[in-house]
Symmetry: C2
């Protein structure tokens, strides 16, 4: 009786989400699509949210969570950041999409060119995939070549040429891709040699953030080697900064390594969730960028551009990168000490502000699933396989509150799977 | 002196636009990109707008225009429609992009499935090109085949597989396209036969709206023949309703012809300018739609979905399709009588609410350019080569005011090029 009552109260407590899922199942294939589909997350994860503010989510059933996914990256200065929303609403009261751009487009392009040392120009889109695809297309137009060198398992978008899942993709969509291994210059060199004279571009993520794997920062040697090989072969260095952009360095993620791309793809965090993407590039690729026909119905909308400028303001005013890094380190240190105390082996990898937390001896993510499930029960939204995201809205108090939940969650992992040797963080 | 003074006052009057263009030239390749680039329009066309309301635009220099482009389609119930903006702002105050969708996604999918007789489900994106590409990908996943039959000169988006301009495109991007002629069943049959057994889909626009050409409505025989050929060959009928959607028939543009697509691509007008696209499909393609990985950072944003539902409300409440048609017919009749009076041969084609106006004996569009230039001088924003758009915000008074400008503009064409035999409208 107790068990049944508990199950019932649990399911009643999540009645709205269940009802929405049932309705969605009828009118949306599979009930949900894409990267926000929670089908492979623990069963207590909500699919539908009602509201968000700062770093907190409220689901359809009124449960609150500290969010460490930040809408998978776009939220960077807090949900419903007043400064960003005010700029957006001011633009709504003038006009969003009109029969041409507004001055906001020029102002934002100027801001980006001033901010990004590699950039002489910018072009605007709506999806990260638009930006990566456009970089590749511009590189082909500029070089007159066809091949694109891509790191194995890297995610560069969901178009047929780059989607990680093959349904509906033809062999020809991938004909001109050649693979290398991230952080392995030798493999990149071999890739260049294998199609010598026909390499249009190398496309490379800011760091290695493959799904379900330990993250890896690029070594300086690798980043500089990519630049040298691109120069030697007169190919474009395309930096995919869609996921990491504005979280590692406002000037571009490889700037601290002293490496400047020819073309860079951006999206996600640029406008704190307002839909926007852009390509930045240097003068060598300006003419090709002029020739390529790149357009979309909403690409000149002014509201997202106004939101982007306000987001850049807030990021700079609050030294947001340093803040996100500090908050990420606070979380990382807390998790590390908790894991050691519970005798649970975890691996924390990548930049602290975009943390990946994986468990030792966890090939099918059972430990990670239990960990995130228990954390969610206690009000913290984590991801067992995808890298997570800190934001300017995460305060030390939020991190400490989250760590109370992770302590219980790591305790649950230790209780279920037994304590083992704890390993050091990355 | 007079001439110089006049040139100076003209250029002073457009100083803001000129200054913005000069700034844009430095930080945006070519100063502007895509379909909203006015480089090929008459020189007096503004590139930058400051504000919009109803069917009126205000450019960066404070000039006002009655707009017959409607942001190239997205604006359908008036710029800054209060009902739509209120729904959007209400959602902003809850949350736009969160770490999952809100109930708005389910509600909108239910609305669309109820509205569109062919549809059993819907999936959401941000660009029209996302929607057309996804239709093709789903069709390939469902059929296990590769070939896509496309009408010559039809526009289905700006991705490498479909962009009308070849810069940066590889041969392999088009390997699996086979061309036929719109409204020519025989050519479609030949296309099917040429790749028999390997046809995944026929993609076809709601009507023929090729750039710079007379428009053509589909004959019932053609539309029904497309359906029959797709059925006979077990290929998907993909209706590209991105441009025409919600202007010809709220149930889908081919519903009056009694022809239902398997998959349909939508964007532009669905949310009155808020960025949104969607694919609708029937149950035969549901499983394939579940398998295809389709996603984008902003695809689950709730604000555009809330705006879409309000747009559908407004469209239905005001019988907007009939209104747009009446306004289009009023414009068409006025232009026709003016052209006859001035002895200028024009051809008006396509549905009245999406009019194309071309001039006889005008292979390089000189007449069209002069016509639109003079109309613009008198406060009316037309297009010499692209189809135009009516909206719910266009009133009889707006049309009549616009016709005063077109009368002067047609007079100028007659004066410059001489009067000839006037031809009948389409």
């Amino acid at each position: 009786m107790r068990a049944n009552a508990s199950i019932e109260s649990l399911s009643t407590a999540r009645a709205q989400d269940a009802a929405l899922r049932e309705r969605a199942r009828r009118v949306i294939p599979g009930g949900m699509f894409g990267h926000m589909n929670v089908a492979s997350l623990p069963a207590n994860y909500p699919q539908f949210f009602e509201a968000a503010e700062g770093c907190r989510l409220r689901d359809a059933d009124g449960r609150h969570f500290i969010d460490f996914m930040c809408a998978y990256g776009p939220m960077i200065v807090g949900y419903r950041n007043p400064q960003v929303d005010e700029a957006a609403l001011r633009q709504v009261s003038l006009g969003d999409l009109m029969t041409g751009p507004s001055a906001r487009m020029v102002e934002l392009a100027e801001r980006l060119v001033a901010l990004l040392p590699h950039a002489d120009w910018a072009l605007f889109q709506k999806n990260g995939t638009d930006a990566t695809t456009l970089c590749v297309t511009i590189a082909r137009a500029a070089t007159g070549r066809r091949k694109v060198l891509v790191a194995r398992n890297a995610y560069h978008g969901a178009a047929p040429w780059c989607t990680p899942y093959p349904s509906g993709v033809t062999a020809e969509d991938r004909t001109h891709l050649v693979y290398f291994d991230y952080n392995d210059l030798h493999s990149l060199q071999q890739a260049f040699e294998s199609v010598r004279g026909d390499v249009a571009a190398v496309i490379v993520s800011a760091f290695k953030h493959d799904f379900g794997r330990d993250q890896q920062l690029p070594s300086a040697e690798f980043a500089q080697g990519v630049r040298q090989l691109c120069d030697a072969h007169q190919a474009a260095l395309v930096l995919d900064d869609v996921r990491a952009g504005f979280r590692l360095d406002l000037r571009g993620s490889w700037e601290p390594l002293g490496v400047r791309p020819d073309l860079s793809a951006w999206s996600k965090a640029i406008a704190n969730g307002y839909p926007l993407a852009f390509v930045s590039g240097n003068d060598a690729y300006r003419e090709a960028a002029t020739q390529v026909y790149a357009t979309g119905s909403f690409w000149c909308g002014s509201v997202a551009m106004a939101a982007a400028m306000a987001t850049l303001d807030v990021l700079a005013q609050h030294d947001a990168v340093a803040h996100m890094q500090r908050m990420g380190e606070r979380l990382r240190a807390g998790l590390q000490s908790q894991a050691q105390r519970h005798g649970v082996g975890i691996r924390q990898s990548g930049p602290a502000q975009m943390p990946q937390v994986l468990f030792d001896d966890d090939p099918s993510f059972e430990r990670g699933m239990l960990f995130t499930q228990v954390a969610l029960e206690h009000g913290v939204y984590l991801h067992p396989r995808h890298n997570m995201f800190l934001s300017l809205a995460h305060t030390p108090a939020d991190i400490d509150e989250a760590l109370q939940a992770t302590d219980l969650a790591l305790g649950a992992v230790a209780a279920r799977f037994g304590a083992g040797a704890a390993t050091a963080g990355a």
